[in-house]
Symmetry: C2
Subunit: 482 residues, 2 copies
Amino acid sequence: MRWRYILNIIGVLTLFFGMTMIFPLLVGLYYRDQSVFPVVESMALTVTAGIVLHLLFRRHKAEIITQREGMAIVAVGWTAVGLFGALPFYLAGGTFSFVDAVFESVSGFTTTGASILTDIEAVSRGLLFWRSFIQWLGGMGIIVLSVAILPFLGVGGMQLYKAEVPTPVPDKLKPRIRDTAMILWKVYALISLTQVVLLMFGGMSLYDALCHAFTTMPTGGFSTKNASVAHFDSVYLDMVFVVFMLLAGINFSLHYQLLRGKTLIFWQDSECRFFLGAVLLLTLLVSFDVFGTVYKTIGQALRYGSFQVVSIVTTTGYATADYEQWPAMSQLILLLCMFLGASAGSTGGGMKCLRVMLCFKYCYKELFSLIHPRAVSHIKIGGKPVSDDVMRSVLGFMALYVGLSAMSTILLAGMGVDIVTSIAAIAATIGNIGPGLGMVGPVDNYAQIPYLGKWLLIWCMLLGRLEIFTVIILVVPEFWRK
Amino acid sequence: MRWRYILNIIGVLTLFFGMTMIFPLLVGLYYRDQSVFPVVESMALTVTAGIVLHLLFRRHKAEIITQREGMAIVAVGWTAVGLFGALPFYLAGGTFSFVDAVFESVSGFTTTGASILTDIEAVSRGLLFWRSFIQWLGGMGIIVLSVAILPFLGVGGMQLYKAEVPTPVPDKLKPRIRDTAMILWKVYALISLTQVVLLMFGGMSLYDALCHAFTTMPTGGFSTKNASVAHFDSVYLDMVFVVFMLLAGINFSLHYQLLRGKTLIFWQDSECRFFLGAVLLLTLLVSFDVFGTVYKTIGQALRYGSFQVVSIVTTTGYATADYEQWPAMSQLILLLCMFLGASAGSTGGGMKCLRVMLCFKYCYKELFSLIHPRAVSHIKIGGKPVSDDVMRSVLGFMALYVGLSAMSTILLAGMGVDIVTSIAAIAATIGNIGPGLGMVGPVDNYAQIPYLGKWLLIWCMLLGRLEIFTVIILVVPEFWRK
C-alpha cells in the first residue's frame, strides 16, 4: 500500500473540493447573509490542506493502482471530503456541534439526506445551498464510483458492469474513469438542468429550484423547507419530483443510451424493468392500503402513495405525507423499500434492484435444482449468463448488508433508542435514504439521537454509500498485512 | 410422482399416530376429566382414516423414493398429523374454534409452542398432556427429518450431515432412516427421562415433570401453567431447564457420541462451539443490559438473562420474565436469537448456527479474496472443506428464510397487526420459537391475531419446521410438471 501516493490523490481531491466552495460563497454574498465568513474560512482551510497534502507527496505517482489502494482511496477520500464539507456548518456555529456538522456533511456527501436540523428555514441561505450542493457533488462521486471504479475493484457484483459502460476498451484505470465520468456527468447535469426549468415552471424560485434539483438527482433528499416537498403542496411539482426521482433511480448509462436514440432501453434492460415494476406494484399496494383509511379519494391515495414509495425506494427521502400515520402494512412496505433501493449504477442506495433480482433468481435456481438434480442451469441477466464470481460477490454483499444492519441496530438500541427507531434509523442510513420511522420519521429529524449513536449512523452512511466492502475491508486485519 | 404410494405411507403414519392417542386417554381416565370423550372420538377417527388410506393404496409400494416424493411425504405427512392432532382440541369444543385447534396442534407438532390459550390452567389435564405430548412426537419427527431425511434430499445444506450419522454405509433410504432414527430416539428418550427425574427432584409433580420434559427436549415450550416456567419460581428448576434446553439445542448425534465415550465432542464440534459461544456472549450482553435497569443484583440479571436467551435461541419459548419490560437492546438481541436458532441436527428451529457460521465464513472469504484476488481459499467446517453445492444450498436457504419472513411480515401487518408484533410473530413462528414481542409477547398469546393471520402463522410454522425448501417447493409450478 503506497500511502504517500494515496495522500497525494486525496490532496488533489481536497484542493478541487475546496474550490467548489466558491458557489455557496457567491450565494451567500448575493443574499448578504451570515454564511459568508464561515464559508470563506472553510474554503481557505480546505484549499490550503489540499495544497499542503499535494505538495508534501507530489513526487509519489503511480501508473497502476492496485485493488487495495483503490479501496483505500475511496474510503479515505469520502471521509476526508465529509470532514472538510462539515467546516462551513461547524464554523457557522449555532445549532451545529462538531458531531452534528459532520453528520449533516456526511449525510450530504453520501446523498442520504438525514438531518439533525430541527428548524431548517432558520439556517442562512448560503449554508442551505451548500447543504444541497454537497449532495449534488456526492451524486457525481457515486456515478464515478459505481460505474467506473467499483466494477474494477470487483466489489459486490459490480463487475457485471465492466463491459456495459460506453467507452473505448480500457487500457488502465485512469483514462477510463475520466472518459466515463465525463459522459455520465454531462447526462447528470443535463437532467438536473431540465428539472430546474420544470420546477421553476411550477412556481418555484430559482434558489429553491436549484437546491431541490441538486438533491433530487443524487437521490439525496435535503430540502430548504421544514416540511420538505409538502411545503409546496402542488400536484404538478409532486409529479415532477416523482419523475425525476425515478430517473435518478435508473442506471445512468441507460440515460446515455436513451439520449443516443435507444428509445426502448428502459424496457430492454432487465434491472430497469424490475425496478419500475417493483415501484408500480408497491405503489399500488400502498395506495390501496391508505385509500379509505387515510385518504378519502383514490386520487389522493395514489398521489401520496406514489410519492412516498418512489421517494423511499429511490432512497431520496423527500416527504409529502407523514407516513407514520399510515397503517402498519404501508410502513413495513416502506421499510422494505429502504432495503430494496434503486438500480445499480444509479445514484440510489439500498441493496439495489440488480442484487435483489439476482438473489430471487438464485433461490429459484436452487429450488429448480432440487426438482431436477441432474439438470444444469445458469442464472442469466438480460439473456447473458452471470458468472459464479459475480453471484458470489452479490450474495456476500447481501449477507454483509443484512448482518451489519442487524448488529448496528442492536448497538443503536443499546444507546437507549427504542426498537422501531433503531431498526428504521439503521435501515435509513445504511440505505442512504434519510427519514426512517419512530423518532426519525418524515416529520422528525436525527437531533434526538444520542451522541455515540450519531457517530454510528455516520459510519453506517459511509458503509452503505461505499457498497459495504470498501469500508468494512479496512477493519479486516488481513488488509493491513504486507 | 406416485401419489398413491405417498398416500399409502401417509396412511400408515396416521394409523400409528392415532394409536399414540392412547396416552392422553389414559391420563384423562386417571384424572376422570372431560378430555376422555373427545380423545376417544379423535382416536377412532384417526385410526380409521389411517386404515382406510392404507387399505386403499396398499398395493402401491416402492423400493426407492425419489427426491420429489420424499419432499411431498414430509410436507403432506406433517400437515396430516397436524390436522388429525387438532381433533381432540376441536372436539373438546369450548375455547377451541377450528382454526384455533389447528393452530395449537401445528404449533405442537412443529415444536413451536405458540398458543391461542388465554387460560391454560382451565383446560383439562388430558388435553394439556396431549398438547405437550405432540411436541415430544414432533421432536422425534424432527430428528428423523434433519438427520436421516433432509441430508438425502439435499435441502438447505443438510447434505453436510450425510457422512456424520453413526450408521452402516447406506444402501438405500429406508434401512438408513430406521437405524439412525432408532439410535437417536433412544438418546432423546434417555435425556427426557433424566429431565423428568431431575424436575421431580425439584418438587414438580410427575404430571408436570412429564409435560415439561415432553416440551423441553423438542424445544417446544408448551407449559401446563399460565405463567410458564415462572410459575414454579425456583432457581434449581430454572437451572435444570437451562441445561436441558441447551442439550436440546445441540446436534443429537453429538449426544450419541458423548454417550459412547467421546467426552470432548461438544468442544471438538465447531458448530457446537459456535452455538455455546454465542449463547454465552448473548447471555452476558443481555444480563449486562438488564442489570441495574430491571434487576438489582447480578445474580438475578444472570438468572433471568440466561434463561430467556437460552429459551429463545434454542427456540423453546419458555418464559420466566416478561422481557417486553426489558430495554430495547435486550429485546432486539432476543429477536436476533429467533433468527439465529440452535444447531442443525437438534430439535431447535431458526436459521441454525451451522448456516449462520457458514455465512460468516463466506463473507470473510469474499473480503479475503478482494485483498488477495489470486489466492485460492476454501471454506472449512471442522477442518474439512465445504463443497460449493452445500454453500449454495445454505445461502439459498438463508435468502429464502429472510425473504419469506419479510413478505409474511407485510402480509400479517396488512391484516391489521402492528409493526413490532408483525415482525416478531413471523420471526417466532417461522423460527418455531413461540412467544414474540408486542401483542404476542411472553405474557400474551396468539388469541388476538385475526383469523387469516392465524392461517398465515400456521403456514409459517410448517415452513420453518420443514426447512423452507420442502414446503415452498410445492408452490413452484415446475414441481408439478411431468
